[in-house]
Symmetry: C2
Subunit: 471 residues, 2 copies
């Protein structure tokens, strides 16, 4: 494989042919192209971009590198959700069993943390015994039996993406829209779906903090999905604060369970309903958003959704009692309580905290530890205008107390926001590493959760009044 | 070593601190930073550039990764020449013994072919027995005894550059001015020089074909040298045609020997004198260009230069009879003679010929084979206006006849040059791989050899009348 001319062409702003992308990805997957050539090419892609045909060819090549989930003539519609990830985003854990309880199958393949955001697999694995490493055959059988499976990317699915994803993570080539889109879509298209709903996070805690980037990513994925026979809808949801109140793997799993039991925070429920109703509509089991929401609410209220999660946990080797009693989840041995110095909101922050980079090699990624996290106890009922937070619990890792409060330091965010009067309190949850990270900012209110729906036929905003940006 | 944030900073257009460059290069040299991270960073450098302080820090770090030639209080001035490389550039083989014969020591460290241009080491190794792999101690002793050594980069000199150079070659990150400058200067500064003369090639056959890039490279290296106590002068010389008449390792060595014996082509001699007189001036052994040229001419005419090359060959294990009888050099077993269809000049061409990339891994580079090459037998005396070429010999590798003539095909070059009336004859010397490559173009005359001198005090052109571009 003569890779240098291809790298040079991309470096100089040219485009590779579909055949070149196909041959290159196949050779990389086979180990015939070394990592050092691929990482140089990836950096050239980050800085030069990909043309539409190139992106399609790259995605197809990644998809073709592995197998696909085949449901043959099984009539149940399959829909999945993908989130671009944000601080405290535990939606998948609520949504998958909830939608499955409404009669739509969810063969959900998730990832681990990327950048500063946590991964669904890490959260699921906080459940004692839970096994995310299903084979394709196991996943298929479970989906056809229970209507839902939650698993990691199996070795059979898009192995090219698996290698590229690991390489990007250690070569500064993660934050590139075409590469993000190709990675997501190559896996999702392998799930044998009838439709796909994307949760594109926007705001300070999102993977891509700017609105323009979020929109570009959403449009890129919609095009990729539509062109490949998988109708795709994207919701743009707020990530200028953590979703819900808990950040940290076990704490988020606990919050997801509480939400399935009807005891969850309103913002998390709102995003779950927004995504879930799009999934029911895309699957064709409901015709209107209103009816879809009602169906979701019924599944929650009746306990069917929680029961589905219990069945899912049991099927995947986890302790099903976790739903009834979340205290079986790993607990922090030390809990420190900090009082915010003044009233404000907890904002999500995507910026690295200078704690260094725990990733030493793309072969040996550090996995999230389940105990640590941040939980806030804000007043309820002030959701729309910005949740007030008067204290924040910090759950540190047993035996070490890395969690620390950097009080009253003037942060960049505060300076950027002229309306902010008070100095921010910067909470650095040491145990979470790059996953999580929350910042309490005094005296500043961000708009409430909102969602904007994007599809190939246009855009609509479910809470236009609360949405400060036009889509 | 936490490399990802550094890669990300460069990717996003920021600058690394001198301390970061220093730590990074040290860690890469030790193997603590993997190739795949370095190649991503190198690509970011290619596309984002380096600030002046970054370039200085990178060069210093590469220099500091190894040892330096120390001549202590030895009074003989040391000057070296470096060429950016071009088709048929065998100047080093003439210049080093010639300048040494004039009383200036030349501790010359050269490289192998990079991109499409041949390397001095490959040419020297065409001499039976010639050993380019001297240790630092051997080189020092030989320079102090003979006044000249011609060697490869020893393992002790700039090992960081050695690794980076090999990695760049296989990752499409060769053609970047700061990286080229840092690579050259980190080695040259390790030679214990009093001054350095650079031969920056310009024109279609040069490594950097555009004048702007050639000038930028020259200025970059002059600044790096001056800032580090090594006065540096750059000559910009023509590379819109092969230098001399021979391309191919053994053929070029033969031509260099003929030149040392006073039988060389005028263009090669002109470039050699231009560089040599700058070296004598920089060393302080002559005060004017005229006197320096006269001294060089005397050393050639008296046979001292040829004798110095003989001594050099003998000292480095080669067959010293080669100077007297170049037929001991490897000979092609098949020679095909092609007649150019019409009168024209042989032009140098830097473009890849689509013969694929012989480099498979940065650990196992293919070395040039000595037999193959191209030699033209043009009329003498038409040098200034464009050498007429009526036939071209093509010396193929024994046992294979890959050399082929693609006649009368309308090439890109011809189309770009409106003045060209005839279709070009495209000679593809298969045996040379990416090294060499000559193109006979009918009916088109390029300007004659010219040299422009650049130093930190300004620029001058030795043949302004023949120079079509203002420097």
């Amino acid at each position: 494989m003569f890779v240098v001319p291809l790298i040079e062409r991309k470096r100089d702003g040219g485009a590779l042919t579909p055949e070149q992308w196909s041959a290159l990805i196949a050779a990389y997957t086979d180990g015939r192209v070394p990592d050092y050539q691929m990482s140089a090419l990836l950096m050239a892609v980050v800085l030069r971009g990909l043309e539409r045909q190139e992106l399609a060819a790259l995605t197809d090549a990644m998809l073709a590198s592995g197998q696909r989930l085949g449901f043959d003539s099984w009539p149940t519609p399959r829909v999945d959700k993908h989130s671009t990830g944000g601080v405290g985003d535990k939606v998948s854990l609520v949504l998958a069993p909830l939608v499955a309880a409404c009669g739509v199958a969810v063969p959900m393949m998730s990832g681990r943390g990327l950048g500063h955001t946590g991964g669904t697999l890490d959260k699921l694995e906080a459940i004692p015994g839970f096994r995310t490493g299903l084979s394709l055959a196991e996943a298929k059988a479970q989906v056809m039996k229970l209507g839902v499976a939650m698993m990691g990317q199996t070795p059979e699915i898009a192995p090219a993406d698996r290698r590229l994803y690991a390489l990007r993570d250690v070569t500064g080539t993660v934050e590139a829209i075409p590469l993000i889109a190709a990675s997501i879509m190559s896996k999702k298209l392998a799930e044998g779906l009838n439709a796909l709903v994307l949760d594109v996070k926007r705001g300070s805690g999102a993977f891509l903090p700017s609105l323009e980037q979020s929109l570009e990513l959403a449009r890129t994925m919609i095009t990729l999905g539509e062109d490949r026979g998988c109708p795709t809808v994207a919701l743009l949801t707020a990530m200028d604060r953590p979703l819900g109140r808990a950040c940290g793997n076990a704490l988020e799993t606990e919050e997801a369970i509480l939400t399935l039991r009807g005891e969850g925070p309103a913002d998390l429920l709102e995003v779950t309903y927004a995504l879930g109703s799009e999934m029911l509509l895309a699957a064709g089991v409901e015709k209107t958003s209103k009816k879809a929401r009602q169906r979701l609410a019924n599944a929650l209220a009746s306990g069917l959704a929680a029961e589905k999660f219990e069945q899912l946990i049991e099927a995947q080797g986890g302790n099903p009692k976790t739903v009834e009693d979340p205290s079986v989840l790993p607990q922090a041995q030390e809990v420190e309580v900090y009082a915010a110095p003044r009233t404000g909101v907890v904002a999500a922050d995507h910026r690295p905290r200078g704690r260094g980079d725990g990733r030493r090699s793309h072969q040996g990624r550090r996995r999230g530890r389940p105990h640590g996290g941040v939980r806030d106890h804000g007043e309820a009922g002030r959701q729309g205008a910005g949740r007030r937070t008067d204290r924040v619990d910090l759950c540190a890792r047993p035996g070490r107390n890395e969690a620390r409060l950097r009080g009253a330091r003037a942060g960049d965010r505060d300076r950027r926001q002229a309306g902010g009067k008070a100095a921010p309190v910067d909470l650095t949850p040491g145990d979470e590493g790059r996953r999580g990270g929350a910042q309490a900012i005094g005296g500043f209110c961000t708009p409430g959760p909102q969602s904007c729906t994007l599809s190939s036929s246009g855009a609509s905003c479910t809470s236009r009044s609360a949405c400060s940006s036009s889509v």
